[in-house]
Amino acid sequence: MTDALFIAVASFAVPSSSQLALLALVVALFLASALTSISRSRHDRPSLRVSAKACGWSGIAAGVVLLIWHASQRDSYVPLDDNFEAFIWLSLLLAALVLYVQRTQPVAGLDWFAMPIAILLLAAAAYFGSTRPTVYLDTLWSKTHIASAFGGSVAFLVAGATGAVYLIASRRLRTKSLDTGQRVGSLERLEAIIRTWVVLGFALLSVALVTGLVIVLKEGGQTRLGRHWYVNPQVVLTAIVWMLYAAMLHTPLGPGLRGRRAAIVSLIGLLLMVFTLVAVQMMPP
């Protein structure tokens, strides 16, 4: 739903080769961070921990520079106007949130899953930013819609990454693994993180859906989604994700979002969200 509501292109800047090179550096730093962190699952060493964090935060810093650079090229100091920036924003938000959660909570391993998704989003920025640049509506409704949709998406991605870590930790315990690698955190804490981010993501996604609905009703067929916006793949997939979590959180089935089930549901949500964000870009409008 992040870029579901567009109007016709007004002005945008196709990323230059220098900007793409900087984007490649961000990708390299995120990749280095992910690989270093994954290597800690075998042999945990303080030097690896510091290296993984340094690469992650350096990548985020480089990404922020890239956003500012690209936005200033368009004489716009709101670096959130097109697909290129939107995907980079999502990627940086995801990476920063995961590093923040790992820093503030005694958990680890979220970046094993979050960093590859962040890299995928950066790749989407490089590809769709050049081929399908679009400009968002500049109204209060659209800003609210974008902010809540971004926040909701990233929250579900964090929950999904935590769900994946939960399944690994659970498997380690069930197989009585003797490995000496990094501890990822207790199942109870991982479950609490999943619940927190799922609830937050659900609330934000609800706001995004409502504001999106207001916009399409207000603008009629003026948005890029056209008159048949309700059958647009992004809208449908986002609605499915929303309904999935609504069922889990607010029906008599609940409180069913516990243990392995919570982890699996959050992983399904992650996959749907990635598909919504990236794969539908390749579909015809």
Partner: protein, 434 residues
């Protein structure tokens, strides 16, 4: 180091019940130290009391020839009398050491090489507290002060320079550690222990230390359950309540002597369903097993048996073989250094006597010679005095140097075990725990 004696017992020589019977509170320790001091004038003593050991370090007064050096049996009898115990019941569990063995034992204890959980650091604080306890009561002096100060220093050196304190090594600590990977905290959890066997109680103690929200000890013999539950501030329950307790339990530790499984898959499946995905952690350390192995296949159930836990213990111990070797080498070296220092210190009075005697002879001979020169001036006399003193010092320099070097070498006098009271056991090897 003549007169240095250690008597004690620990987790490898005495069961929990014996250790508990000899555990002394601070008031009793103070009274014991005072009583020892009165009984053996000029003696020094330190009483180390932990949940895994009770040890009395004793140094007789070597300067007072009249002061009797107690036999180890006398010290054991003294400990027994403190708690109104029959000393004969303690003899089989006690060990006794003297001289160099005491020093080595203390150094190993202080750095956790003799602990149930190899390399645990809590013992260092306990040794320090025991020493300071005696120091504050003027019960230590020129013999135990350097010994304990060096022991604490060696322990810090071992902890700083070896990875001995890393890892986990007892079944109880492994079980608690695994529970920590399932639950963030036990403060709001219910822990149910089934059976009151030795191993089960050890694991229960590990969980009790985590202060769970509710701790229940369930046993076939309800009176026994009540007795043990009181020790851990737990509730007691009869075995017939097990099924209802299992429904509310987050952790179940089973160690009963039952021939048939107490928790079956058929019993556990509805319980797990009722928990709606909330994990449950089961520890089965009974032989034969109390929990059907197939229970571990139920989702959100984490079942560990004795073999699983002992594999971790074994892996952990083997991984730390190098750390133990390195720590032992540091201890051995420190013991040698301590004895070299001690022997060198013992040479002091002898060398002092040698110098005094030689200078006295020189002065005597000089005085005799000076009677032949009555007109000698005081200044010339002072020069001659100085000459005699320098000659004596130079003559004695090499012999004294050799004497000091010889004194620092080990000899046979410091390496004797005290005669055992009644077959006391040696504890010089590193303790291990299952």
């Amino acid at each position: 180091m003549n007169g240095l004696v250690l008597v004690g017992l620990n987790h490898t020589t005495a069961p929990l019940a014996v250790r508990e019977s000899l555990a002394l509170n601070p008031t009793e320790r103070a009274a014991a130290i005072e009583s020892l001091h009165q009984r053996f004038t000029g003696s020094e003593s330190v009483l180390l009391c932990t949940c895994n050991r009770v040890e009395l370090y004793f140094a007789a007064d070597s300067t007072n020839g009249d002061a009797a050096e107690p036999a180890t049996r006398e010290l054991i009898d003294f400990l027994a009398r403190l708690r109104q115990l029959d000393a004969a019941t303690l003899y089989p569990h006690m060990y006794a050491k003297t001289g160099r063995d005491v020093v080595e034992h203390l150094f190993r204890v202080a750095c956790g090489l003799d602990s149930m959980v190899l390399g645990e650091t809590q013992i260092l604080g306990q040794v320090r507290q025991a020493y300071e306890f005696s120091l504050q009561r003027s019960a230590t002096g020129g013999r135990l002060n350097p010994l304990f100060q060096r022991g604490l220093s060696v322990a810090k050196q071992v902890l700083a320079h070896t990875p001995l304190a890393e890892g986990r090594v007892s079944v109880a600590s492994v079980a608690v550690d695994y529970a920590g990977q399932v639950f963030e905290t036990l403060s709001d959890k219910t822990v149910v222990a089934v059976g009151a066997g030795k191993m089960g109680l050890l694991v229960l103690r590990g969980f009790a230390n985590q202060r769970p929200g509710r701790l229940v000890l369930c046993n076939r013999d309800f009176d026994k359950a009540v007795a043990h539950a009181a020790r851990f501030s737990a509730q007691a329950a009869p075995l017939t309540d097990l099924e209802s307790l299992a429904a509310s339990a987050d952790v179940i530790i089973s160690s009963s002597g039952s021939e048939l499984p107490l928790l079956t898959r058929r019993m556990m499946e509805p319980i797990v369903r009722q928990r709606r995905g909330k994990p449950i952690f089961l520890i089965d350390i009974a032989l034969p097993r109390d929990i059907e192995p197939s229970v571990g296949q139920i989702r959100n159930v984490y079942l560990y048996n004795l073999d699983d836990l002992q594999k971790v213990v074994a892996a952990s111990q083997s991984q730390r073989g190098n750390a133990v070797s390195a720590a032992s080498a540091i201890v051995a070296s420190a013991v040698d250094e301590f004895f070299a220092w001690h022997r060198a210190r013992q040479q002091g009075p002898l060398i002092d006597d040698l110098y005094k005697r030689a200078h006295a002879i020189a002065r005597e001979e000089l005085a005799r010679t000076l009677t032949l020169f009555p007109n000698i001036s005081p200044q010339e006399r002072a020069h001659l005095d100085d000459l005699a003193r320098r000659i004596v010092n130079k003559l004695l320099h090499d012999p004294v140097k050799s004497l000091r070097a010889a004194g620092a070498q080990p000899n046979n006098g410091d390496n004797g075990h005290a005669p055992p009271a009644e077959a006391p056991q040696s504890s010089s090897t590193a303790a291990t725990d299952v």
